[in-house]
Symmetry: C3
Subunit: 229 residues, 3 copies
């Protein structure tokens, strides 16, 4: 659907109102995809940690909604959207339940999940930056909050399951940097007033591509000296 909206935006030279609602539709669709893929990642961590169905649901919700909740707290939007618009909460719970009942093997889910996670990362860093910016903060602050939205849920997932956040671990390919890249691109688009559905999707696609390349070529941040010697 978001591709259709994008095509319409490109072809039809739409009015501002149409563009706004197109942007909104893209955001909703994008956030929903991000929520579902992050919820799946949380639920599968719960399976790996041998938690129960309730643990699957909670880790799914924390991963999918945690970044947005932190962002909303930081910009003073209370109660956070995750508590008032229950679409995302419901989507997270349903995702966890589906994974509970079909119980796919890790081998089958690894590839698709990592792509879904990359898409979630790309979409969340864009929508997070847009939402932070609409709260009136400056461009650098909006970009930082966009990155926080994208990586915050995963950090909460890892802290709750008793592990050092994967975003900090040296065996993790670049993850936060692609999110920061997408958020910074979005903040730049907003700053120069050229943000629209399709430029926003371009920024998201850039972040997704960056993340997938980092995974494929195993780009790492350099280890700290002490650990190298």
């Amino acid at each position: 659907m978001s591709v259709g909206v994008l095509a319409a935006a490109l072809v039809a030279a739409p009015s501002v109102t149409e563009l706004d609602s197109a942007v909104t539709a893209v955001h909703r669709g994008g956030e929903l995809m991000g929520v579902i893929s992050f919820a799946a990642s949380g639920a599968l961590v719960a399976v790996r940690k041998r938690l129960d169905l309730f643990g699957m649901v909670v880790l799914a919700c924390a991963t999918a909604l945690g970044g947005g909740i932190v962002r909303d707290l930081l910009i003073g939007r209370t109660p956070p959207a995750a508590f008032t618009d229950l679409t995302y909460l419901s989507a997270s719970i349903v995702t966890a339940l589906i994974l509970y009942f079909i119980a796919p093997s890790r081998r089958l889910t690894k590839g698709p999940l990592e792509i879904a996670d990359a898409i979630g990362l790309g979409l969340f860093c864009v929508t997070g930056t847009v939402i932070a910016s609409s709260a009136g903060v400056g461009a650098p602050t909006a970009a930082l909050l966009g990155m926080t939205t994208a990586i915050g849920g995963g950090v909460i997932r890892d802290v709750l399951s008793g592990e050092v956040p994967s975003v900090l671990r040296p065996d993790q390919d670049l993850y936060a940097i692609p999110a920061l890249f997408g958020a910074a691109a979005t903040a730049t688009l907003l700053h120069f007033d050229v943000y629209a559905a399709w430029t926003g999707l371009l920024a998201a696609a850039g972040a997704v591509g960056f993340r997938l390349l980092a995974r494929h070529y195993q780009w790492h941040a350099p280890l700290a000296r002490h650990a190298r010697d």
Copy 2:
């Protein structure tokens, strides 16, 4: 005292103002009981983790006040009540000090503590829902925030002591579900405008009973598939 207030409310067909102050008294008494039992649970975890007196005090305060602080942040009530009304903070510190000096054996405290914890859970999910609702959020949001109030302190206690939150662990009997039950009942009462001291206490009693039954009969959420095979 709260029972006396409840009886008075039942017998005397009190005016709205009297009911309001009765509700307030029940809330204060209930929150205080919840605070003390949660503080005791935090302090005893500190003993088990071989922390010092300061660790006992901090874990007691975090367990007793953490859920309410998170709830207040989420509804934008800043600074949180725990920082402005120092009754609860003082009660937590005194509880930790008493447990430090009398140092009861684990065998003696296990049973009473679990009952106290269930009572705290039941009371917090009701008062948390009422407070969230009075901030103007809808019924489902209020119920979610009520559950968060009831289980949040325990999650913070476990994260600070370096463990996976007990609410997520598969060896834990149902804990969050009774809290959600009490919170949902309270939100329903509020929604249909029939919340009063005694209906609120009924909701709390339902949650407490549910929790104690879950403990006695060891009701668990089902394990994730992967872990069952």
Copy 3:
């Protein structure tokens, strides 16, 4: 520089405006020193935990900015100063980068770092109390928030690196108590309207001295009974 400002404040019997700007300058200088020393402590923990450069930067920022972010959330100052005034964020990142490139040995950095950390602790508990107080909370609340500012970053650092917060561990010399002492002294000064650049610095110096004495003489809180027997 802050010493020069202090001297000027003492010598010149300055007007209220001059004093205010002197206080502000002391605060800025003090916060910056605190930020740098806390960032260094976070970055060195990342080295010890064998994280990569990105982990060093994130732990440096979390340690240096975490306490202030928590304080700002608790007093409803959103977005937190750490996200809007990027001086402190930049200082944290630069500190982590410098430590990455010079990679000093642990033996060389241990002593200076502990002194820097004590200075950060002393300055943060004072500035945190002043900022909380300026948000209109009472003196005890301001003192609690000041202590939270001073110790919060370290707690976040330890939780993110998968450890029980050092402030809770029994092998840790008194840390939060000196911070509470400095915060309470500051709140008292503010309450009696005798807070100024030099009295604030005295309170900070008292907290720093208390902390360094606690380290030198290994003052501990007493262990919980269970652990002593």
